[in-house]
């Protein structure tokens, strides 16, 4: 049997191909009939060749929900027909890291540990559709996808939660929750969030729900800033028209934000000359990532505050302001999402109406339109925040 899937074909090239159906490979697997699968800003790093561990033919997509089509013999929590959302990271739930709630650091979820072990000293967990460095798992931009450790990574969606909300519990919301919880946002905090994409907006919403007194989202795209204000309830700064540092200083009585969350990643933009500097260095492979937003967050943060890096970075950056980290007594943290510990809470908040995410899905389209969807998403055409695919059309 074959199915349709959206594959990576080379730098900035995707295609819809006919591929074999997935099969149960381990007893704890399920096969999911994909209902909705979303593009993510971190996919753009794969598309653009910034994470050079993709092979032509790899199926993209890691943020998804759907209906259980088949269960392995050791699956206990799910049955055929269940409507579930799946965490984009793959965790076994039984290693020390999973037991500590650090799910994306799972010791057992990545069958290709040597790659990230060589890059970062120790391997991290696996992720659907996110290169051979993170396990080489087939992604979710397909009619069906195999889900390992399904009792741990698939979560039943409450009745009343729409597919287009639930799908973002898989990654965008779970990532936002990870940053806010792990850096320790407290009631009364002022929180600044760099990036008004899906992850940035969800981080802002998480901060508001944790009691932050003011939450400021920074971006340059008016449609995303409008969403951050109207759908999330945050304040905004447009970095193309305002000085971020000056605005944040003014809005915080000269202190700076208590918590700064970076949700931009390795292909960041900025209004200043450093953008050109980092572009040149990245293209010459003198640095792998452009860290403008991280630099700005570190500089803007108040003394003794916290900075959390949620944007995806792969390797080495230049001009890292270590002096500011050390002398201002900052806490600097980062992580891929620990979604398994937050998704039940997020789904509950979606069911009660306190978290809405479907506005992120600005362009819903059939899988056949996937290549056009990625082009639109990458180039921010037509106000695209997220292109979202429905394999059934």
């Amino acid at each position: 049997m074959t199915m349709k899937a959206l594959t990576w074909r080379g730098v900035n090239k995707t295609a819809v191909e006919s591929v074999p159906d997935p099969q149960i490979l381990n007893d704890q697997d399920i096969i999911l009939k994909v209902g909705v699968s979303a593009t993510c800003g971190s996919d753009l790093h794969l598309l653009g060749g910034y994470i050079p561990a993709m092979r032509a033919g790899d199926i993209l997509g890691h943020e998804f929900m759907g209906e259980v089509a088949e269960v392995g013999p050791a699956v206990r929590n799910h049955r055929v027909g269940d409507r579930v959302v799946v965490c984009s990271f793959i965790g076994c739930g039984r290693c020390w890291y999973c037991e500590q709630g650090l799910w994306s650091l799972c010791d057992n979820g990545n069958p290709n540990p040597a790659i990230t072990e060589a890059l970062w000293g120790y391997p991290v967990g696996g992720c659907f559709g996110y290169s051979h460095a993170l396990g080489g798992f087939a992604g979710s931009h397909a009619e069906y996808v195999r889900v390992p450790y399904a009792d741990r990574g698939a979560f039943t969606i409450p009745d009343g939660v729409d597919d287009l909300d639930a799908v973002f519990a898989s990654d965008a919301a779970a990532t936002g929750w990870t940053g806010v919880d792990q850096i320790g946002v407290q009631p009364g905090d002022v929180v600044a969030v760099w990036g008004a994409g899906g992850v940035g907006q969800m981080a802002a919403r998480a901060a508001i729900l944790r009691g932050a007194e003011r939450v400021v989202v920074i971006d340059r795209l008016p449609e995303r800033l409008a969403q951050a204000e109207n759908a999330i309830g945050a304040e905004t700064i447009n970095y193309e028209t305002d000085s971020v540092a000056a605005e944040l200083r003014e809005r915080t009585g000269g202190r700076g934000p208590d918590i700064c969350i970076e949700a931009v990643g390795m292909e960041g933009d900025s209004a200043g000359p450093q953008y050109l500097y980092d572009q040149v260095k990245q293209q010459l492979r003198l640095e792998t990532d452009r860290p403008m937003a991280v630099r700005e967050a570190i500089h803007a943060c108040r003394k003794g505050g916290g900075v959390f890096v949620l944007g995806v970075y792969g390797g080495l950056v230049d001009k890292f302001p270590l002096g500011a980290v050390m002398n201002k007594g900052l806490t600097l943290r980062g992580a891929q999402q620990f979604g398994h510990r937050y998704i039940p809470e997020i789904l509950g908040l979606m069911a009660s109406g306190e978290v809405k995410a479907s506005h992120l899905a600005t362009h819903v389209m059939p899988l056949d339109d996937g290549p056009a969807g990625y082009r639109m998403f990458k180039n921010k055409e037509d106000g695209c925040v997220r292109a979202v695919f429905r394999p059934e059309g």
């Binding site: 295609a15 074999p20 092979r55 076994c92 010791d107 290709n112 040597a114 060589a118 087939a138």
Partner: protein, 164 residues
């Protein structure tokens, strides 16, 4: 091949050694470095999130390590801070080094690769109850480019390579 498991206390009694002894003359175990009777190879180790008694119940090593027979020595000890059990293995014979070692690693027949795989798979079996597979799985058409070949080769070695 005759194989027996010998358990011995070491140091303060926390460390348990599991040695697959299949040779006519077993090597004595030395606690310190630099003993001439010790193989020169470094221990490779994973920490398993289970108590010591679950690692080799009744002296039976997990199948991936047991399958290596007397090629390796195995050491089992309690991990610090309640982090489970350290499961370590090393080859009895000196590992290839230099150009020969590099060639073996590239060709996929370096003996250290089998030890890495066996440790990782043993940990998975004990903790998660299965060895996570990824192939066969759906893919589109593979390109016959050098980049695709390189990633394919790296991926094939990625379960048995690394800094472990």
């Amino acid at each position: 091949m005759k194989t027996s498991i010998k358990l011995a206390a070491a140091g303060a009694g926390l460390a348990v050694l599991v040695r697959a002894v299949g040779r006519s003359r077993a090597r004595p175990f030395a606690a310190g470095h630099g003993d001439e009777t010790e193989p020169s190879n470094r221990w490779r180790a994973v920490t398993v999130n289970q108590p010591q008694e679950q690692i080799a119940p009744d002296g039976a090593l997990p199948p991936p390590l047991a399958d290596l027979g007397d090629v390796i020595e195995v050491r089992i000890s309690k991990a610090a801070g309640g982090k489970g059990t350290e499961l370590a293995a090393r080859l009895r014979d000196p590992e290839p080094s230099g150009a020969a070692g590099l060639a073996g690693r590239l060709a996929g027949d370096d003996p250290g690769q089998a030890v890495r795989s066996a440790l990782r798979e043993s940990k998975q079996l004990i903790e998660a109850g299965e060895i996570l597979r990824v192939e066969p799985q759906p893919t589109g058409r593979r390109a016959s480019t050098p980049g695709s070949w390189l990633i394919g080769t790296v991926t094939r070695r990625a379960g048995s390579e690394g800094v472990l």
